[in-house]
Symmetry: C2
Subunit: 326 residues, 2 copies
């Protein structure tokens, strides 16, 4: 009998890396995590990762049972297998991660960006099952995206498609310190953006009462804004209203680009539920041409955040890469 095959799915975040051993059905049999941030040298990082993965690999019968490794990482280039100039990772410049991982583990390794990996996870195991045209938007510390059209992930000419968080939505607007661009979606619709909007709204109207004033400015984050909003705080509610306005306007633009069946929202910010969903839907609809109105489902992902990334990364292993340019 042929040995059961497994894929390793790895999601590299700016702070931590999570990984799992996944079978064909999407069952994750082992989960683990290591710090990304503490490794200035990528070789040290891979060393620790190999150490952390060793017991997991043993548990499924050794490396011979591993079909391959799939990795989602910021600025991960699917075609080249490199991480390129990722601002949130400790490794600068161009990192040939796929090659380094191949050498370390001796199994095939695939790489894409973290948001693309999450979209693949959603398509194979989440609410996007069976959909051929959808967009996944990750609302976390930043704003990521993965775009599926005609049933395929859009990688674009050089493997970097789907950087919707960096599209300009308010020309000349808020400065994004990481990119130097002004008025990008990420500068408003990320957790960081929500906190900045709260601070702006508090400063704009210094005499207006708000529960948010019970917190030190440097302490205010999207979680605190959420807590204040559900307690009925007007400024906190307006912060979500405004965030939904900017996000909805952006989503309308994306819909008129690729005409998806659904937009799937994912990540920490979705915990705000209707506070973010209602204004987003309202402003998306009102900025659409009539031919697009009331057609696009706006859904929250139902996968656990870490699971989606691991599942999506692992799914890269099962996918054939027929058109890869190395």
């Amino acid at each position: 009998m042929r040995q059961q095959e497994y894929a390793i799915g790895i999601d590299i975040g700016g702070t931590n890396t999570v990984f799992g051993i996944v079978d064909h059905r999407g069952d994750i049999s082992y989960r683990g995590a290591i710090s990304t941030r503490k490794h200035k040298d990528v070789a040290d990082y891979i060393e620790e990762l190999a150490g952390a993965l060793a017991p997991a690999i043993d548990q499924v019968g050794g490396i011979n049972g591993i079909r391959g490794i799939g990795i989602g990482a910021p600025n991960g280039n699917y075609y080249k297998g490199t991480i390129e100039y990722a601002p949130n990772l400790p490794w600068k410049g161009l990192i040939p991660l796929q090659q380094l991982m191949n050498e370390k583990f001796g199994v095939p390794c695939s790489l894409t960006n973290d948001a693309n990996a999450a979209a693949v996870g959603e398509m194979m195991y989440g609410v996007a099952r069976g959909m051929r045209d959808f967009i996944m938007i990750t609302l976390g510390t930043g704003v990521g995206s993965g775009i599926v059209a005609n049933g395929q992930l859009i990688y674009g000419h050089d493997g970097f498609a789907g950087e919707l968080g960096h599209t300009t939505i308010i020309p000349g607007g808020r400065l994004h310190k990481g990119t130097g661009l002004r008025g990008s979606l990420e500068s408003y619709a990320s957790a960081t953006g929500v906190a900045l909007t709260a601070l702006e709204f508090l400063d704009r109207d210094p005499k207006r009462d708000s529960l948010l004033r019970n917190f030190a400015k440097e302490e205010i984050d999207s979680r605190i804004v959420y807590d204040c909003a559900i307690q009925g705080d007007e400024i906190a509610k307006e912060v979500y209203e405004f965030t939904g306005e900017v996000l909805g306007l952006s989503l309308a633009n994306f819909v008129m680009f690729s005409s998806p069946e659904a937009i799937i929202l994912f990540g920490g910010m979705t915990k705000a539920g209707d506070l973010i969903l209602k204004p987003t839907r309202e402003h998306m609809e009102k900025n659409l041409l009539p031919i697009f109105q009331n057609k696009v489902q706006l859904l929250f992902s139902e996968l656990r955040e870490a699971d989606a990334a691991i599942l999506g990364a692992s799914a890269l292993v099962w996918e054939a890469k027929t058109d890869k340019v190395v």
Copy 2:
């Protein structure tokens, strides 16, 4: 010997309809045109079209030599074969054009929107030959677009993808009278938009000299603005500078969506050459993330405008529609 096969390519514009008989190599052996605008009833329109096509069909050996008819039309729905609520056409509501044409001509008929047809023409016979990822932007009376990713035209879930002219680039900006939306790309980067910008710039600075003041306001169009700009008129040059700024910013957003190898500009506005190309390129580059900079070719189409639309429409005939939903 098997009879040579031909396709009929038809491009339906708001004013006129142009058509041609096209062979496999893209040679157009017959060209003709009828008025679109004068036919309030689509049945009358098809009647005149059939009359105008009859001698062309005879010339290539009769209807048995016609493999099919491909049509590009505003709001043409590829999946359903319908024209849906096209604001610039004389026929209101939902027009089952594919079915009506099938019945009239007795050969298979395919329909897509005019900008998608032009993109297919460009991919088969123009500067996009061999490209798998590009975006075509039509800068005419309006702004249309066709998006190719992974070598396929992006139709989206319901066949309407690629309405980039209607994406918002300046929230709360100029009102588009046709759509009611504010600040869309089309309201600035179309020929109509250029004329409106010129009028705004003249009004904003009523004492400033300009060659444009030699013309009545209702007379000013993008051609006059162009003529004044090449004569060195400062306001006219600023109009193109501003148009390029808005267009370039939009193109940066599109690049971060699908990461194309090239953006191909097409249509009457491209006659302005470097006047429009230079500011567009400059503002596209400066609004891109570094990973996208200096990678995307910004090209003018080399096909004659009417030819691209006819060729693209005819190309629909040779393409198999395997995933069509009727």
